[in-house]
């Protein structure tokens, strides 16, 4: 079981409270987790990855186990703590504000 934490705007959009729990067959990767997430919550399509290229949106970050996984290959296996459900897979809106 994979635990996923969405940023607040996307929790509102998907109408979920707290963490999302996903069952992934095989070794979980960013791609398989995001595919499963979007399959359960189709309204999230396009909000994390580009519809066509499937690339991560520029101001979306993926963190886990105090590491930034955003620039990892989407097919790289996620850390074992994420795969076991010990640690959550965090989807975070990047710090991108502060204009004045």
């Amino acid at each position: 079981m994979i635990r996923v934490v969405l940023p607040a705007h996307l929790r509102n959009l998907a109408k979920v409270n707290g963490e999302v729990e996903l069952e992934i067959e095989g070794q979980p990767t960013q791609r398989s987790v995001l595919d499963a997430l979007e399959a359960r919550y189709p309204m999230l399509q396009g909000t994390l990855r580009d519809h066509v290229t499937r690339q991560r949106r520029p101001f979306v970050r993926f963190f886990a186990c105090e590491e930034d996984l955003s620039h990892d290959s989407p097919d790289k296996p996620l850390p074992p703590q994420v795969a076991s459900g010990t640690e959550p897979f965090l989807i975070v809106g990047a710090i991108a504000g502060g204009y004045r």
Partner: protein
């Protein structure tokens, strides 16, 4: 009793302002989608409870939401805007070719006859249509592909298709406007398009009379006379009496003919409203006085409308889609500002009062007249 519902898009959410026909006491609902930029909210003219919203953020891109109960509840709709075929290039700020890239939906225009058909004007400029209540979107590629698209260049706000006018007398005729390409018209339901910019003169482009390249800010039409159009260009207020085939300037005695918003009285098609803005580098009213100007003569002769509007130290802007009119017997005029005020006049502009003063910066204002 009749009433109105004002649909406001802001930098940080949507607001719905409701009143009865007197338009004195207002109920304020919102923010809906707090934190998201709401470029536009618009209702279906054939189903007043059907609302469509364009919301976006830099983090999560574009969403379209739909309501079937006048904004009490919302459901996400389709947000997949894919250009038809190989998108090609338009001109970038530096004159080099730049690939077409979808950024956001600026304007939503529901069909005049079918609540499930909606048009969307997007950045980078293109026109999309949905016929299934916004679940899926298809580009009308004849617009970008008609021949001048590779020469379109973005304005400061991006290469945006911001105006969509559906001709109530001819379902095959649609007008659109793009910054900074100009105005375009189709007479065959969106299959083929042609520029309609003859008569526009723009000294900020190399050829002031060019076929395309004009920074059209907004166009307004009175439904009773769809062949007559009024335009607020970057500079100049213009008028066409032949569906855009030829434009003539009607700026007349305006204190400045720069501005964004323009609209027309619901019952008097020669009565036009603009909000003059000092200049393209000073996006605020001249002399710090917020004045709507009204022409009762179809342009050229303008009178300032000031009663109830701040006449000192006011330095807000009024954006292109942030003015609307209702169709009650005494026509109501509404506009929103970058300072978060939404002003209403229940008497065709003679006097004004703020409905709300402290919203986030207002991006768009639409109004529904309810039975």
């Amino acid at each position: 009793m009749s009433g109105v519902r004002v649909l406001v898009g802001t930098k940080k959410g949507a607001f719905i302002l409701s009143a009865d026909g007197k338009r004195e006491k207002w109920d304020v609902s919102g923010p809906h989608f707090g934190g998201w930029e709401i470029y536009h909210v618009k209702a279906s003219p054939v189903d007043p409870n059907r609302l469509y919203v364009s919301q976006s953020t830099g983090w999560h891109g574009q969403l379209i939401q739909r309501s079937n109960d006048a904004g009490k509840t919302w459901e996400p709709a389709g947000n997949k805007f894919i250009y038809d075929g190989v998108p090609g290039t338009h001109m970038w700020y530096d004159g080099t070719p730049h690939p077409w890239e979808f950024k956001r939906v600026w304007h939503i225009e529901p069909s005049l006859t079918d609540p499930d058909t909606i048009y969307a004007g997007v950045e980078d400029a293109a026109l999309f249509r949905s016929t299934d209540g916004a679940q899926t979107w298809q580009e009308l590629p004849g617009l970008r592909g008609h021949g001048t698209g590779s020469r379109w260049q973005p304005g400061a706000g991006g290469l945006c298709l911001h105006t969509i006018l559906l001709d109530p007398s001819d379902p095959n005729r649609i007008f659109i406007a793009i910054s900074a390409a100009g105005a375009f018209r189709t007479d065959d339901g969106g299959q083929t398009w042609r520029p309609i910019n003859k008569g526009l003169k723009s000294t900020y482009i190399p050829d002031p009379d060019a076929e395309v390249g004009h920074c059209v800010h907004h166009i307004a039409m009175n439904p009773s006379r769809p062949g007559v159009l009024f335009m607020q260009k970057h500079w100049d207020v213009m008028r066409s009496d032949n569906a855009g085939d030829l434009w003539t300037e009607v700026s007349g005695n305006l204190p400045t003919d720069f501005g964004f918003a323009i609209d027309i009285h619901a019952h008097e098609p020669e009565t036009v409203y603009v909000v003059p803005i000092k200049s393209d580098s000073e996006h605020y009213p001249p002399e710090g006085k917020l004045r709507v100007y009204r022409s009762r003569t179809g342009g050229n002769e303008w009178e300032p409308l000031t009663k109830g509007l701040p006449q000192s130290n006011c330095f807000v802007n009024v954006l292109r889609d942030a003015m609307a009119v209702d169709s009650l017997d005494s026509c109501g005029i509404y506009f929103g500002t970058s300072g978060g005020q939404v002003y209403a006049s229940p008497n065709a502009g003679d006097s004004w009062a703020p409905i709300v003063r402290d919203l986030p910066a207002v991006l768009s204002v639409e109004v529904q007249t309810l039975p």
